[in-house]
């Protein structure tokens, strides 16, 4: 067994920042990551980092834009923390040498982005995430922080108290990808989940293949609620064939969207009369799909994004990477022709419920970055607000886990305070299939039966559980392969739980997920080797995809209103009287349980009053 003060799971922007912060506090910290840090998906971020850096700008304006963008479902203490800390954290990256784009006076450049009232998106060409990830990894090397790379974390070692709020996380179980060895990692102070996105729940996504929502699913099964899962962001400009992202920076710099008739539809059809292409992402995604559905799409599938008029020089200076992406993945040179684009799954606004210090309701368990939901994005994330989230909340989680005194959180987690129980409506049975029967690949939390065992013992027992699971999976000689199950879920989610949502389709998705769960009971791994067994690992990931797909769909079915990215055919209005609340799903003995908690709209000096969102 390995032992450290703080263990960070994941080495994207959030994980690296958390590790550096814990190290600053003097903790013995280690990162455990299934990919080598520089392979993390943060490297794919293109557009930029929002930070109120200029004299004419203010964090208060940024917070206002964020709350409005969220459709009043973000918690003000989290949104304000994001906006207040972002300038300092962004400049810290500059001090660490990050290669930001520069203005003539040598200062870092900023550009306009959707839904922002000031051009406050700081960027490094169209490869901001790559520059950020590498800069941060360099700092890790500089500090000599230990990284266990290509170690795949499969379980959390959490004590088995009745209420999640009484549980403690003592460590994790991970699988050395190269050798197949399964080992425990004990965390004396805390575990920080920074496992990133969950785009692989869908088949058309901008996300990497590794983004299977592992952290959210592991925490969920250990007792931490999933929050606001129904809010999935679909990015309006992804390449139709692969889902590769064309940054919002293209529209920020003046790129224009056209339909098949060559009409600038954002204005022509009144989707966003003021901001046009720069309206927020949910608005533009719906506009595009409406064009396609009404027969004005190109090849009944996509629309055009044109940036030719920006001129070659400006494009090369600020968006060069886009030329390569469009050429390599779609065969279109955007200097000569408009790019085909359509909406694709891009970001999960929901995730592991945390407070603004990154802590969950389980003692010693933290989450930061895209897998977490401190609730800064609410119903819709503004472009450029995720990268600051990584550094701001990654740092806070790192400090907190390492024992730094933090101000008490204003956001509550777990079932405390004024939460509201709810009824779950589903056409099929939910959750685990036939608990008690041997679910071969159950990856749940440490269902530890003993009363008071030490942290190390608990980790060890969880390791043994996991070894049994993996042995059983590898011994099984026939059955169904994960690729089949995964594909069914992905297809169903794209068909039924996409930009536009209807009750019957959501129920269909639940039926499909149920069927996939039943199939999963019979899953087997074809590859019997312990060496670099990606078949086995993807089989374990598929389990996470199932739980998350169910969470998204249940949340979407429960929320019968139209808010942010969540559009419901039967409910074409935002209903503030009833729905200024967060959806939470808890894994209660293998069955999802739905409940709500109120949104916090009181900020430091003001209360954010819900207004109609128009752009």
């Amino acid at each position: 067994m390995y032992e450290h003060d703080v263990i960070v799971v994941g080495a994207g922007g959030a994980g690296l920042r958390a590790a550096i912060a814990a190290h600053e506090e003097g903790a013995d910290v280690a990162i455990v990551s299934k990919l080598h840090p520089v392979r993390s998906h943060t490297g794919a971020a293109e557009g930029g980092i929002n930070a109120a850096l200029r004299e004419a700008d203010s964090w208060e304006d940024h917070a206002y834009d964020t709350m409005k963008g969220s459709d009043y479902l973000a918690d003000a203490p989290a949104a304000e923390t994001l906006c207040k800390d972002s300038p300092k954290e962004t400049i810290k990256l500059e001090h660490w040498g990050m290669a930001f784009s520069r203005d003539d006076d040598g200062r870092v450049s900023q550009r306009p982005f959707g839904g922002l009232s000031f051009p406050r998106t700081t960027y490094a060409g169209a490869e901001t995430g790559h520059q950020l990830l590498h800069t941060m990894y360099e700092q890790l090397v500089k500090r000599g922080i230990k990284v266990y790379d290509e170690w795949h974390v499969t379980r959390l070692a959490v004590s088995d108290e009745e209420r999640p709020e009484d549980r403690t996380c003592h460590g994790i179980v991970a699988y050395d990808v190269q050798t197949g060895k399964i080992e425990g990692f004990r965390a004396r102070n805390g575990v920080i989940l920074a496992t990133g996105g969950l785009g692989q729940v869908y088949d058309h996504t901008t996300n990497a293949v590794a983004n299977t929502g592992d952290g959210v699913a592991m925490a969920y099964r250990a007792g931490v609620p999933m929050e606001d899962m129904e809010f999935i962001q679909f990015h309006p400009t992804t390449l139709p064939s692969t889902g590769v992202l064309i940054t919002e920076g293209v529209r920020g710099e003046g790129g224009i969207l056209y339909n098949e008739n060559g009409e600038r539809f954002m204005f022509e059809y009144g989707y966003a009369n003021n901001l046009g292409e720069l309206a927020s992402r949910d608005v533009v995604s719906r506009a595009e799909l409406t064009e396609v559905n009404e027969g004005r799409g190109i090849e009944d599938e996509y629309v055009h994004l044109d940036m030719r008029h920006l001129g070659e020089e400006r494009i090369i200076d600020r968006l060069e990477n886009i030329i390569h992406l469009s050429e390599d993945f779609e065969g279109v040179n955007p200097l000569d022709a408009p790019m085909p684009v359509k909406p694709g799954q891009h970001y999960a606004m929901g995730g592991v419920e945390t407070d603004e210090n990154g802590e969950t309701c389980i003692t010693g368990l933290y989450a930061a970055g895209e897998c977490a939901c401190a609730s800064v994005h609410g119903g819709n994330r503004l472009g450029g607000n995720a990268l600051p989230e990584l550094i701001v909340f990654g740092k806070r989680a790192g400090h907190h886990a390492a024992g730094k005194d933090m101000e008490e959180a204003k956001i509550t987690t777990g079932k405390v305070g004024d939460y509201e129980e709810a009824e779950l409506e589903s056409p099929v049975q939910l959750g685990e299939v036939g608990i008690g029967e041997d679910v071969v690949a159950d990856g749940g939390a440490a269902a530890d039966s003993g009363a008071s065992v030490s942290g190390a013992d608990l980790v060890q027992r969880t390791v043994e559980d996991e070894r049994e699971t993996v042995d059983a999976l590898l011994e099984k000689e026939d059955g169904i392969q994960h690729a089949e199950i995964r594909e069914r879920v992905q297809k169903s989610m794209t068909r039924n739980v996409n930009v536009f949502r209807e009750e019957e389709a959501l129920k269909d998705a639940l039926r499909d997920i149920r069927e996939a769960r039943e199939l999963y009971q019979d899953v087997y791994v074809g590859d019997k080797s312990r060496t670099f067994n990606t078949d086995l690992l993807q089989t374990l990931e598929t389990r996470n995809i199932l739980d998350i797909a169910e969470g998204i769909t249940l949340g979407a079915l429960a929320r019968n209103e139209f808010r942010g990215a969540h559009w419901r055919k039967e409910y074409q209005e935002r209903r503030d009287e009833e729905w200024l609340k967060h959806t939470l799903l808890s894994w209660n003995d293998g069955e999802p349980e739905l409940w709500y908690k109120p949104v916090i709209l009181e900020g430091e000096n003001k209360t954010y009053e819900p207004k109609v969102r128009s752009y």
Partner: protein, 293 residues
Amino acid sequence: MSTQVPEHVEDESSAESVSPGKQKRDQKKRERAQRIQEQREAEAAEKARSEDDTYHLKVFRYDPEVPEKQEPRFDDFYVPYKQGMTVLDALMWARDHYDSSLTFRHSCRQAICGSDALFVNGSQRLGCKTQLSDLAEPVRIEPLPHADVVKDLVVDMEHFYDQMEAVEPYFQTNSLPDGELDEQRQTRENREKVKMSTRCIWCSACMSSCNIAAGDNEYLGPAAINKAYRFAMDEREGEDMKQRRLEILEQEHGVWRCQTQFSCTEVCPKDIPLTEHIQELKREAIKNNLKFW
């Protein structure tokens, strides 16, 4: 076609200890799973049979643990072609439909994570960035040369990482502005100068293509030297630091080993002018009047 389509063996071993009800359910489940699997394989074979739009891949296979795979070999896969299909797409298709043990690294699918550098038809390329339609058939896919193979197409990257770390790959300066909100200034020209060098995704294609690196295990190699260039040329680090960086670079296994063969520059998927960067560092080293080997 030598793909291993799994055989369906009835598993009776655990039948005795379970209830008849469960046995029946299990049986039904197995049957359903088998049906689905057979259907899939039939579909896959059907798709692959329409010769015109299949691509023939010859893929390197090796697994130290599995007796049949201990002796390296090539497997043939016939993958149905779709417009825009990349080498990575084809590998994923082969894995998901024919042989789930086919192993390779990949993640982003968009040439930014650097994990799927492969040896394709005799040169180093990113699988995700290489269109099948640009390649002659059969498409031969091998792990990167000059690295230990862990399994199939996966190579050991430790040596590459060690070389990257040998050049102090992090920003160092003594003159940060005082205020935590004050950035360092950098001219647009200077950023432009280092821009290409900052694009490296650590794929190790360059290292794998370099004859000198193949012969001299201690040679820093193009990627690490480029990483050092990224800092040495960044005006924010200052002159003292530049001296120090040049000292690291002009050591015995540093820049002077490069024989300007340009193979690294040719294969770099990020178009980094590696050879040029190395040459420029050699010139800097001379300018600084440092001794060289």
